[in-house]
Subunit: 222 residues, 2 copies
Amino acid sequence: MATTTTTSDRPLRRDAERNRQRILVAAHEAFAEDGLSVTLDEIARRAGVGVGTVYRRFPDKDQLIDALFEHQMGEFVALAEECLTDAAPWDGLVRFLEQACASHACDRGFKEVALSGTHGLERVARARQLMFPVVSRLVARAQADGSLRADVAATDIPLLQVMLGTLSECTRDVEAGVWRRYLMLVLDGLRTSRDTPTPLPHEALTPEQTQRTMSAWKHSSR
Amino acid sequence: MATTTTTSDRPLRRDAERNRQRILVAAHEAFAEDGLSVTLDEIARRAGVGVGTVYRRFPDKDQLIDALFEHQMGEFVALAEECLTDAAPWDGLVRFLEQACASHACDRGFKEVALSGTHGLERVARARQLMFPVVSRLVARAQADGSLRADVAATDIPLLQVMLGTLSECTRDVEAGVWRRYLMLVLDGLRTSRDTPTPLPHEALTPEQTQRTMSAWKHSSR
DNA sequence: ATAGAAGTGGAGGCTATGTCTCCACTTGTT
DNA sequence: AACAAGTGGAGACATAGCCTCCACTTCTAT
């Protein structure tokens, strides 16, 4: 977190720097809980500073988002690269997908930055572009190995993440862990072959939970 | 379409009835293309009438939605029931899922009504509740048959539809048919076992298409 | 201790978007 | 022709987010 960024000329005054950190922390929390649509007013409230202070430090929301998520995106690319070195290619791919879903499930802001192309600035965009080649290699490796079906493409991966991300978002308030169940279902669809269903790692929702999930679910508006 | 509803006392004047139909048609089109979030002003514009006319005929948006989708929901329940009579239980389930996804892909409004619990009134809500038992039987039948894995539950079905619906929504402007690809992937995850991947019914997106998809994708706001 | 540079808060201006009302006017019906 | 029924669409109202402005406070260098 907390890049020391700023096109620094003079260092910030001590209290100003402290406020800057508070804003970053508050923004991260707020984005994680409510997504990138939270207002800067809300972030200011959480940080215990005035809106003016937020706007002085970050000319607009994208600057703030960029400063916040550059690091996190970088870390994630590193993780993907690490998965590339797993002994079993299939396990590497699974670990990557699991990690991605887990991050998206507990940090809506990160999910939106990683999965949507619209937000953030150059730094974040650059990190995003670093992902594709790594994912391609994860896919190719698992296919060469015979464990991943040959007819999926690297471009399927982000779309699967969108699907699973939506799911974890709309169930998060009802039963936070169910996404694992659907990830496993999808993984069983991605295997080249299997004799028996892989045990699902989470109970199905009850009908009541399902209903609560659906009625809370807000569609995107465009 | 076009229920003749209204707690009719006097029948509407001829021109008024004609306008009412126009509104219903325009609303259906608008909802299908842009989702339930279209404004009544927009619907009026499309119908070629003034907003006032819309509001006189339908006190608010939910009344309009209810009048529009009651029929469509009923039809869909009927289709589900028909799938229950397919010779092969697995095929019945697949046909149901395919139909559902197809309807959702070409009618955003219907998708939102069917999948979200928030919209419409009693009539639509009632139709929605009719679905669950039918889906339960579709699932049970395919499981009894051994084709559908034993560890999925009826409640998984609507959530899979949410996942696939999201996908078809975010790809619709880039490559309208890809949702079939992901449905098949999911289906291959739902089978009890298989030796080889079922051929996917649609090409993967190109990297460029994927990028376009992601950058157009708007997240839900809550 | 103090001057003045640096920083602050939050009311409020501005824009955008959507819902719904109102009533002078038009149209259909008998 | 008479009048009930219906109409359009400007605009009142509400909400909500972005961002500015400036009188005031706080820091820090001397």
